[in-house]
Amino acid sequence: MAMRQTPLTCSGHTRPVVDLAFSGITPYGYFLISACKDGKPMLRQGDTGDWIGTFLGHKGAVWGATLNTDATKAATAAADFTAKVWDAVSGDEVLSLAHKHIVKSVNFTQDSNCLLTGGNDKLLRIYDLSKPDAAPQEIAGHSSAIKKSLWCNNDSQILSAAEDKTVRLWDSRSMEEVKTLTFDTSVSSMEYLADGEILVITYGKTIAFYNALSLDLIQMVEAPASINSASLHPEKDFFVAGGDDFKLYKFDYSTKEELESYKGHFGPVHCVRFSPDGELYASGSEDGTLRLWQTAVGKTYGLWKCVLPEDLGTENSEQLYSSTPEIKA
């Protein structure tokens, strides 16, 4: 019996969702943070999409958001020229780090002690969160705005992607450039998988996979449409991608075959990420929503409930699909 994917729509944002990130798996489950142009990043329970809280304080569009592994801290990058660190349990703002221009990307080290930021001032900055008043270390080199910056190789190195059409690998101690990848067009997204040291880069209609240590190309795949973001499953059997045609695509990582495509969003997909357990992936769109998609369609997980064939004839399908009165549009 074929089951059709039912995406779960998380409403609440009033403008395009431009970035999202999952935490690691904590004793309280895992969490999801979304960055939105409405300036109000939100924290959600990762497996259900239930809203937990909104981080209030930014005075401009939030371009980047991240959580530390145990979801106790959150960081956001915004158009108000600040990056902010938040207590992700209470929702309180802990630190506001002033920058000279729009901040686009934030990333914690594994121990949550340092924060890496990158943005339109073309500099990478490393903040020691135990010394918030100390000036950050700065790495210069990019000739255009930085879109994404992240720690890799056990936090000993940094990867950055910028509008100058390069992706650069830096040594975080010497702050020197180790390697550069140049593309014909600027990279739309970057994802790093520590387990396996794989880097997922998207540009144009291409989804490319690189070895994160050597920056050697592993393989590349062409999608039917321009791709804004892609994510590799933690077990490296699938990857998903979304872009300007509003659809989500699912590919087999080994065969590069396109397995499925899903409609649902009403605008371009800006970001897509697999959950830490690989059971679902979340997508953020220009339409202001986040959607959660099942990796194994029909499996009982989170809010999705597997129904046995013999129950389908007797169940009143309205009970299963109808929304309860308190759900807001």
Binding site: M1, A2, M3, R4, Q5, T6, L8, T9, C10, S11, G12, Y28, M42, L43, R44, T48, G49, D50, W51, I52, G53, T54, F55, L56, T72, D87, V89, S90, G91, L292, Q294, V297, G298, L303, W304, K305, C306, V307, L312, S317, L320, Y321, S323, T324, I327, K328
Partner: protein, 128 residues
């Protein structure tokens, strides 16, 4: 025709009245540090704790009395970016996030009614 996967319910949306982070959630109770520094210390001296709590109560009470004393008085607000404005103070909201004022004198004119965001205010003065 494939059957859509059934769902138990839709994800819960934001509460329009609050920013969330439910203090009664198990995660909050387990992980949130108390805001009183001494009580978080491994060996908190009950005497010191009591003194600190007393000091906090005194400060809070005097702040609240100050807000009460200010109502309907002319107050000068010193704000960021060297902004100084004068207005007749109305009230503060419960979280002290906004101040409701009347007759706000700004460089571009007098605003009959306004809300001043308290995080923008550095200090304010008024004559008792």
């Amino acid at each position: 025709m494939a059957t859509p996967v059934p769902v138990l319910r839709l994800p819960k949306g934001p509460d329009p009245n609050s920013r969330g982070f439910d203090p009664n959630s198990p995660r909050f109770i387990a992980l949130c540090r108390t805001s009183i520094p001494t009580s978080a210390a491994a060996e908190s001296d009950p005497q010191q704790l009591q003194e600190e709590q007393h000091a906090r109560s005194v400060l809070r009470e005097s702040f609240l009395r100050c807000l009460l004393a200010m109502s309907n008085k002319k107050v000068r607000f010193h704000m960021h970016e060297k902004v100084n404005v004068e207005a007749t103070f109305g009230a503060s909201d419960i979280d002290v996030l906004n101040f409701q004022v009347s007759d706000l004198h700004t460089p571009i004119g007098v605003q009959k009614e306004a809300l001043i965001r308290s995080q923008d205010v550095i200090s304010f003065t008024f004559d008792v």
